[in-house]
Amino acid sequence: MPTLVVEVNDLQKVYPGGKKALKGLSFTVREREIYGLIGPNGAGKTTTLRILATILEPTSGTARIYGYDVKSEPEKVRRLIAYLPEEAGAYKYLTGLEFLDFIASFYAEDEQAKRKMIQEAWKISGLGIRIKDKIKTYSKGMLRRLLIAKTLMIHPKLAILDEPTSGLDVINSTRIRRIIKKYAKEYGVTVLLSSHNMLEVEYLCDRVGIIHEGRVVAEGSPAELKKKYEAENLEDVFTKIVGGEEI
């Protein structure tokens, strides 16, 4: 049996306002897998990823990463993961390079390791000489590339990416997808991502979990899902499960 990187079991989350975001969610992610969470707006994708990233605490149920419980051993979990939030930013008054240096300092054992990380991130980001400019001068696509680079440069055991290409144009999106695919394989990183783009999910993901109203309602590889729901593509699968109104 392959090692389980992520193990989510009957996870429930009630927000302080009383909103039930997760209602018994379960799924697992295996080592070196790219796993995609898809689901309509408000389904609970971000909530799930935030719990795994140790930002939020589960109301009940368990979430483990490499066997460490996110609630009771968050410090251990944080050493294994790298998280890219849905609406992430970076310090505008630092340069790209300084920002990478800042993040790398938390992980690198020594100066040399840090330099290597930054070097790799520079390459991943494809920012060229702009890496030496202040982040406030970056476009949305450049910022996202910088953030993907900071996530992957530390060679995390698990990369958690919340809608990595949201709000980007086709060129930048494609670029980011290629980066994820290439470096996940090269560095042996397990990836858990969420997305609204079915093309992206088909291109990237080994397995997909469809979330609806706080529960996983279907799971499998894109091919399996298409076969099971007799659909031409993932979008059809999604519509069949979640139910969209016919126009």
């Binding site: 302080p16 930002i55 939020l56 930013g89 970076a90 310090y91 008054y93 630092l94 938390f106």
Partner: protein, 438 residues
């Protein structure tokens, strides 16, 4: 490997220095403004006082007496560097009165009165030009000259009559001695003791209040900056304990505030030294006064003042951190820290008007638990010898600080640091974001 705390700390210092939001609005502008204000005030006062002390200037003289003493007085003025311009009547003098110090009229009978042993009068016409400090000070110059002249004449008369001028001018005089606690300082002006008293009772509490305000505002802002820059989520997933995260921010705020506070201190000290250099200096007497004061209030007073000061500093800080967690952006953080600083400053001033020395020791001890204000009480408690109440001040301010910081650290350790919100603005933006991605 560099510690996570240090990495965070360096980033904080860097961002405080680089981010114009923080640097300009919170450090440079206030320092430059106060510097400028004190500078101008200091320069103006010095200038005005010097001008007023310096003899000389133009005097329009209308001599209606034409006698010996009128002549004598005119010569006296001239020999004291005054330029005397003579006019025949008051009307023409007034017509030509422009920049001169004043119009001086020597009425008819001036000399005769003096010769016959009666009091003689001079009439002064003085023009109000505006409310400038300098013009008001220079106006008084003429009275000084007349006084000196008058003294000279009386001395002369008395010596001729074989009497001691000192004896006649003030046959009864006084010397002052001061009692502080059990110490008596002989022959000292009370104003020389009020200096050190003010430093202990007002200056130090004010500086602590200023520092507390600075630290609170910087810490609150730096937490809000993380939310505004959308970095909080990322930070919370780094291998960095929540405690180190906040500690790094607080440490950076402390250091920057100390530097800022130091700058204020230098400006104020420079201002006061400029002002006080105008008066007569008596270092020996003030050092005697200071040591007597120390003996009277007890050596524990300054020590407890510093201890309580730091407690108050941490209390303000804890409150600021707590509030900052509810806030989404820098602007609201600064508004909210204003809510702390304003009452803090106000209570220090209220404390100054509250005379606790007339209260019973029990009342004093009870009032000593009121945070912030109690800083101002320490000195007076020392003067009344209520060491218990002084200890209560020091302990209570630390107790409050520890409670608030403990509550803050409990919140920091949970998801509340992320989910607590005062203003629900963010929800609406994420709603529109949802629409866009649909």
């Amino acid at each position: 490997m560099r510690s996570a705390f240090l990495t965070m700390f360096i980033k904080e210092i860097k961002s405080i220095i680089r981010d114009p939001k923080i640097l300009i609005t919170m450090i440079i502008v206030p320092i430059v403004l106060t510097g400028l204000m004190y500078g101008i005030m200091g320069a103006m006062t010095t200038q005005a006082v010097k001008q007023a002390m310096k003899p000389g200037g133009e005097i329009l003289l209308v001599d209606l007496d034409h006698g010996y003493w009128a002549e004598n007085f005119t010569n006296y003025l001239a020999s004291h560097k005054y330029t005397v311009i003579k006019y025949n009547d008051i009307d023409s003098a007034i017509k030509n009165y422009d920049t001169a110090l004043c119009i001086l009229v020597i009425p008819k009978g001036f000399s005769e009165n003096l010769t016959r042993g009666y009091r003689a009068y001079l009439k002064i016409y003085y023009k109000i030009r505006g409310i400038s400090f300098t013009s008001m000070m220079t106006g008084y110059k003429i009275y000084g000259v007349i006084g000196q002249y008058s003294d000279m004449i009386s001395k002369h008369i008395l010596e001729k009559a074989g009497l001691s001028p000192e004896y006649v001018s003030s046959p009864v005089n006084s010397t002052s001695n001061i009692v502080i606690g059990n110490t008596i300082i002989k022959n000292i002006d009370p104003s020389q003791v009020t200096g050190p008293l003010l430093i202990l009772g007002l200056f130090i509490p004010l500086i602590i209040g200023l520092l507390a305000g600075f630290v609170a505002q910087l810490s609150a802002t730096s937490i809000a900056v993380e939310k505004e820059e959308k970095m909080l989520e990322t930070l919370l997933t780094l291998p960095l304990s929540r405690f180190s995260l906040i500690a790094a921010k607080v440490a950076a705020a402390f250091i920057v505030s100390l530097i800022g506070g130091g700058a204020y201190f230098v400006i104020m000290a420079w201002y006061f030294s400029q002002i006080s250099s105008l008066g007569p200096a008596n270092n020996n007497a003030s050092s005697i006064a200071l040591s007597a004061l120390m003996k009277a209030v007890g050596i524990q007073t300054p020590i407890l003042l510093i201890v309580a000061g730091f407690g108050t500093l941490f209390l303000a800080l804890g409150i600021a951190i707590l509030l900052a967690m509810f806030v989404d952006d820098v602007r609201s953080a600064q508004i909210i820290s204003g809510y702390i600083i304003a009452p803090l400053m106000l209570s220090i001033f209220i404390g100054l008007f509250l005379d606790i020395t007339s209260m019973s020791p029990i009342q004093q001890t009870a009032i000593a638990v009121i945070p912030f204000v109690n800083l101002v009480f320490i000195l007076n408690l020392g003067l009344t010898g209520n060491v218990t109440a002084q200890l209560v001040v020091a302990f209570s301010s630390w107790a409050y600080a520890i409670i608030v910081l403990y509550v803050a650290s409990r919140i920091i350790g949970t998801e509340k640091i992320f989910t607590m919100k005062l203003f629900k603005r963010k929800r609406r933006t994420s709603y529109s974001f949802h629409l866009l991605t649909r």
